[in-house]
């Protein structure tokens, strides 16, 4: 599987570390967040059979987090974008 790193170009996935579902949002105020919000963030997943937005860290490359859009049924990658400081925000 080749991942198109927006900083480095097409690189084998073995250079990357998987970071999981990119649509989750950490409760903005941890002290005030209800238990249900923590349950939702920590444990519950859409786990789609199809297009998945997910984080990968280019560990053996530029060492930056990127967001990849990949089909979990076919492993086809539709695109990847830089995340910058965006980790943890739902867009």
């Amino acid at each position: 599987m080749l991942i198109p790193c927006p900083h480095c170009g097409q690189r084998p996935h073995s250079e990357f570390t998987y970071g999981g579902d990119a649509t989750l949002r950490r409760p903005s105020d941890p002290a005030l967040a209800a238990d249900e919000e923590w349950l939702d963030y920590l444990y519950l997943r859409d786990n789609p059979r199809g297009l998945h937005r997910e984080f990968w860290h280019h560990t053996l490359g530029c060492e930056r987090w990127i967001e990849v859009r990949r089909d979990t049924l076919t492993h086809r990658i539709e695109g990847a974008s830089a995340t910058g400081a965006r980790r943890g925000t739902r867009t």
Binding site: G20, D21, L39, Y43, R45, D46, N47, R49, E54, T72
Partner: protein
Amino acid sequence: MQRYSIFSLLRNAVSYHRNWPEAWRSPDPKPSYQVVIIGGGGHGLATAYYLAKEHGITDVAVLEKGWLGGGNTGRNTTNVRSNYILEKNQRFYEFSLKLWEGLSRDLNFNVMFSQRGVLITAHFDPQTQALLRRGNGMRVIGSDAVFLTREEVQRKVPVLDFSPTARFPITGAFLQPRAGVARHDAVAWGFARAADARGVDIIQNCEVTGIRVERGRAVGVETTRGFIAAKKIGIAVAGHTSHVAGMAGLRLPIESHLLQAMVTEPIKPFLQVSLSFGAGHFYTSQTDKGELVMGGDLDGYNSYAQRGNLPMIEHVAAAAVTVMPSIARLRIMRHWAGIMDMTMDGTPIIAKTPVDGLYIDGGWCYGGFKATPGSGWVFAYTIARDRPHELNEPFGLERFARGYTIDERGVGPYPALH
């Protein structure tokens, strides 16, 4: 059901084996059932069997989208063991192991359960201490575990690397003697035949496309062969648990990942135990055909593809050659993958759901095969009594909200690491 025995074998030999009856019927689905089980793998078929046998509920259909045992039942590396460290897991898997010990006789079908022992090699002091602790815990609840010295391991498994230059010198091994392997297809077929004999309808090529919920209660399933009404519905679909539960509006603490396995070309008897390499991701056993069937860790990313990527195969092969250098020239004949429904704590879910009449047996991570009879037994109990048995009470969905997760590896909510 015609019982299999030496006499039926002789009787059929006289007629050149042309008159064996089919092992189970292939009926058309009825409009409604008391219980519908989604998924005709080992767990679904075992559930149907124990519903009929233990609870007298025979108005049951098992719906399978493909063929019996064509999913993870036919894709696993066939290990059966109960060597867990947490007591809730120990008790459940030990119960399952005890069912395995009488399973061939119970089903009148040879599942070829071979208690050859599961052996984990030890290489480091802290790892040895952890294995000893695990073994002691198992013995406390009445299971079996022994620790072997380096010399004892060498006598038992001489093909491991005991040379002075070994990359990971073997200092001992943890052995569960009653553990072993079983023929996975036979488990599906044996449960199917025994369930069918008690009146369960097994319906293959019938995919569930929707779950009908009315006023918070599941009332039936939409399928490729029409609507089937049911008072109770059990989901036992391995890697697709999120997908099927999603049809009833549920969102689960599960990610689906892929796990690869592979076999080498067949060789003469070579390995007498089921082996786990304690210093890397590699486990193997030798099939009755002589192949070494082996596997390692998850590829590590969400997938429903039933196939993986080559780097993990290389990783497993490298670990295999590290601990068993003599197999370096064996060729790998086939490799494949299964979809693992990895829960957030690495422990399965066998439970009622927030939808009345809908039950889930899933989240088996990569440990479902060994649990097949135990899982079927407690899931049947849960469906029949509408409450969990004490063995699966800890495996409920509410444990995540309440903070009672059962994290065997202690890695937190990272499914790919369990």
